[in-house]
Symmetry: C2
Subunit: 269 residues, 2 copies
């Protein structure tokens, strides 16, 4: 395995760019190849069998790029497929669920942790499983928030409709006296200030994107795979649909000038 | 071609069931096979190339069912692919766009027609093209309403959030003095009463599902393909993901007891 190979990062669409952004900030020497499955998004409402088939195709694409490590920058994919996929491939791989779960378990004081995510991630119960494997006495309260992704994608980040929907989704968690809340979908950090305002300053928000970038650095160090100092750090972008729309969004959030986004037929992998 | 063969009906997901419901009501002797592409929904935000690839796979599935005619019960698919697909297949096919456009063109008095639909359908400009091919003097005003589908799927049919979003989306059309409004996405008839209330009684709402069922009956008659009287009328249901969830929704809106929904891997066709 070459130290100067790409790190592969993927998501169902644009959400994983919040993870890529953290990787670029925290591991600026790493070259990355990003894939967004925009032809089949969203993943959050689909079944484990379907997501597993999609992720296996993405793994075959990543093989062609000879990546040295892979980041599943998608909570649903991580929740449903990471355990299976890590047995099937020959490179180190991490998801976003474990790093977020670990941080939440370490930072709660009263032992009551909330998780907001897609239907798929909540139904998988994986955040609860990971958190309780660290400390079985911790209590985890999950809440699916299916409208958050379309509201973010419609650009309604600061809008009373989004606030109203957020108040409804978060009402149950407010009653549970949680002191830590995991933003368990890669779109949700874009609603961070609103969620923080509703939950109040006593609730700590955990952004798995940040924790995942740290976990990636550890993974590369453990496997002696850290990139050497490179003059030019390349980042490549692939999607299964809508390259232009993706590029505009990527340029709006990444500390990097995305010039080209390639469309691939992921079903062919 | 056998008269007692199935009529194929498909959509990206559950929306097309509003069309199937009208077919069951208006052509109760016809056997149908329905496919919902729930593993890859929604279609509305995806590109023409991607939708065309998906529809070609669905056509190959419909071939295996030896259907005698096909209804594209999806506005985005109809807008982007019908002209191409009807050259490629050997059975009569109709979409939902032409029947809705024809009815709107025939019923407007002041010549000003509104269309609400997904991004894909609005961007295709196809409603405008069809309406103006009937009468070039008619004016068409389109408005994409991307949050309507997730709001319907979240069950917020009678909710002030949906009303607020609808008021925003419809505000431009209200200023245009339209007298006819096409509900150009198969989910939208489920918001019919709210849309009617906002637009007022002077605006006539056109539901392409209703018009499409009439068009199907004409198509079968023209091709001498009407079903003979049958004791038992079969309806088969296929999806690419989430059979159980689909079945529950189908049973809530169809005048038919859906007992089994089959999952197929549509990418393999």
């Amino acid at each position: 395995m070459k130290k100067d190979a790409f790190v592969g990062v993927f998501d169902s669409g644009i959400g994983g760019l919040t993870v890529l952004r953290e990787i670029m900030r925290q591991a600026p020497r790493e070259k990355t190849v990003y894939f967004g499955d925009t032809a089949r998004l969203p993943y959050g409402s689909k079944s484990q069998d379907t997501i597993l088939r999609y992720v296996r195709q993405i793994m075959r694409f990543m093989e062609t790029k000879e990546v040295k490590a892979i980041v599943m920058a998608c909570n649903t994919a991580s929740a449903y497929t990471l355990d299976i996929i890590e047995q099937e491939i020959g490179v180190p791989i991490i998801g976003v669920v474990k790093p977020g779960a670990k941080t939440a378990a370490g930072s709660t004081v009263n032992g009551r942790i909330g998780v907001i995510a897609t239907d798929g991630t909540i139904n998988s119960g994986l955040y609860t499983k990971f958190i309780q494997s660290i400390n079985p006495e911790l209590q985890v309260f999950g809440k699916a928030c299916p409208l958050f992704v379309p509201l973010v994608e419609e650009g309604l980040l600061h809008d009373f409709v989004t606030e109203e929907i957020a108040r409804r989704y978060l009402a149950d968690l407010q009653k549970q006296d949680i002191d830590t809340l995991i933003l368990g979908c890669t779109h949700y950090p874009l609603l961070r200030s609103l969620i923080g305002q509703i939950m109040g300053p006593e609730v700590q928000l955990v952004n798995p994107a940040y924790e995942t970038a740290i976990a990636l650095k550890c993974l590369l160090a453990e496997n002696d795979l850290q990139a050497p100092g490179q003059e030019v750090v390349d980042h490549e972008f692939y999607v299964s649909d809508g390259a232009e729309k993706f590029k505009i969004f990527a340029n709006s959030i990444l500390p990097y000038d995305v010039e080209t986004t390639h469309v691939i037929n992921i079903e062919g992998y």
